[in-house]
Amino acid sequence: MLAFTLRRAIQAIGVMIAVGIISFSMFRFAGDPVNQMVGMDTSGAERAAIRKSLGLDDPVIVQFGRYVGNAAQFKFGVSYQFRLPVSNLLMERMPATLELAICATIFAMISGILMGVYSALRRDSWLSHIFQAVSLIGISLPTFLIGILMIYLFSVTLGWLPSFGRGDVVHIGWWTTGLLTLSGLKALIMPSITLGLFQMTLIMRLVRAEMLEVLRTDYIRFARARGLSTRAIHFGHALRNTLVPVITVAGLQFGSVIAFAIITETVFQWPGMGLLFVQAVQNVDIPIMAAYLMMVSLIFVTINLVVDILYTIVDPRLRSTVSRAH
């Protein structure tokens, strides 16, 4: 078990180094950073001095080593547009994005699993057909369109929910949360649904398909032959077996929820990392873009690792094959 975790962790570090190379190379291919920092009238000597002080004359491999070393300590340099350390900017924005992503994922998991289980157990009911239709819409309509339609309906026409921003936030240490105020919670509803809708439909379809599959297995038939109640069979035996692949997908999707938050945050002007990234792209603010890339990959890699470990907790068969293999 420990060896398995360790091996996966080493793989994860390998992936992060590869991402580091890509994000490092952005600095070199997106123009001369010195030009971005200084004015038109800076002399050649001054430019050379800045170049030297930034270490841009060193061999590439030394620069890369320094970059990775700094990144490992969450030092990503200074933003061109804000003149502030990028890590401070990201830390300031991260709570907003994480809160949004977590709420969206919880929404997607709960409603996706409920709808999936219902439509698997009552395949021919009209509600199941409605769920199927909704899931089709969720999969085929682009996120921004759903966001805009919701803003039009609930903010502009009905005036129930705010159309942008986080509402009032409460500071807990460096973390800011909108979960403790009414306006913060109201502001979370539409972005969470918009962001989570795609995952919800994905989870619902997955749960439905898996559940139908599991209900056909021999051990479910045997459970019925043992006279267990329908409830125990459906929710004790079938659902737990269904959840193994659902955990993987939901876990892996959490990474893309954070990545897709860029669009949702833009639509709802949500002050998170995604919005920061979009602004950075518009202003060619390479340090922010590079740092964002590293952050998102780190989250992806971490989630992958956690999902692998969770797997072994849910499915005892993996536990023993994993320990036997080492």
């Binding site: 045997f222 019925r224 032959a225 006279g227 109640s229 329908t230 068969r317």
Partner: protein, 328 residues
């Protein structure tokens, strides 16, 4: 004679398909007495498993019981409400399936699955149920049951898993056990152990056993009586020695002729020509007539009804001396 534990009368099971209704079971009748083992033998698709499943009420749509009656110790069970039938399953009728590797839920400890079943049917505390589960595992011959009870199914070998499955089937002391090919998926050496286990349990608890298999050797070893099924009907039923030594139905004769002997006379085994008809193309009259050498005209038009011949009962016109017009 006392009332049989299981009495099946003129059972008919149909499956609705796009090409119309297929009749998988067409008028099957048999009884099983307390402590008796009835072997049900036949080719794949003869309706052995479907018969077992209809007794325990697990025929899934599009299949349905279209006619006949099933009585469990006098209680008619083929038309019970689903919830009442569920309470009988596992408590009064236990079932053992073919593949022990897939019969257990891989995510739960075997002990949890046994305790769950015990507590579904018997009013026992968690602790008492666990103690009973350990006793059951010991009874079915699992070594160190107090340790193995916390193992997961994948930690058991095939034979051991089938023992767990048997423990699950008998955990509420059922009156009837339906064993659907319980040894087919096992090694030959393990088969004998499982067979003697089922036999011993049936004897110790007075449980009636319906043993579905296509293995005549298993039947000859375990069963008191045997029913030979062909294309959804019982061709012949009777005490196992009589049917094996002196089969009456041409199909049963063919089956018995196909059993290899250790005596080693090197003559070829008898082969029944042709294969069993598909459900969608069951011939008119006796369903066996196209493969039957002594078949005559009547076999091609009229379905044979079961006739008593000594201890055996056979559905074949060869044994019917009475003209069709006067036979009621």
């Amino acid at each position: 004679m006392t009332e049989p534990v299981l009495s099946v009368r003129n059972l008919q099971v149909e499956f609705a398909s796009r090409r119309g209704t297929l009749r998988a079971i067409d008028g099957v009748s048999f009884d099983i007495a307390k402590g008796e083992v009835l072997g049900v033998v036949g080719e794949s698709g003869a309706g052995k498993s479907v018969t077992g499943l209809s007794v325990i009420g697990l025929i899934d749509p599009p299949g349905r019981i279209a006619g006949g009656e099933i009585h469990l110790a006098g209680l008619r069970i083929d038309n019970l409400p689903p919830e009442d039938m569920r309470r009988i399953r596992g408590k009064r009728i236990g079932m053992i399936f073919q593949d022990p590797l897939t019969s257990l839920n891989p995510l739960y400890k075997v002990g949890d699955q046994i305790v769950e079943t015990i507590r579904t049917h018997l009013n026992l505390s968690e602790r008492a149920a666990r103690r009973r589960a350990i006793d059951l595992l010991a009874e079915v011959g699992i070594p160190a049951p107090e340790k193995r009870i916390d193992g997961y199914p994948h930690e058991f070998s095939g034979g051991m898993r089938q023992r767990v499955v048997i423990a699950l089937a008998i955990c509420a002391e059922p009156e009837l056990i339906i064993a659907d090919e319980p040894t087919t998926a096992l090694d030959v050496s393990v088969q004998a152990q499982i067979i003697s286990l089922i036999k011993r349990l049936g004897r110790d608890h007075g449980t009636a056993v319906m043993l579905v298999t296509h293995d005549m050797g298993v039947i000859a070893e375990t069963s008191d009586r045997v029913a030979v099924m062909y294309a959804g009907r019982v061709a012949e039923i009777g005490p196992v020695q009589d049917v094996v030594r002196n089969p009456l139905h041409p199909y049963a004769k063919g089956l018995m002729g196909a059993i290899p002997t250790l005596a080693g006379d090197d003559k070829r085994l008898v082969q029944i020509p042709g294969s069993m008809p598909r459900l969608s193309a069951i011939p008119r009259g006796c369903s066996f007539n196209p493969r039957c050498a002594p078949a005559f005209d009547r076999c091609r038009v009229e379905k044979p009804e079961p006739l008593s011949r000594g201890t055996q009962s056979v559905a074949c016109h060869l044994y019917d001396s009475v003209p069709a017009e006067t036979a009621a």
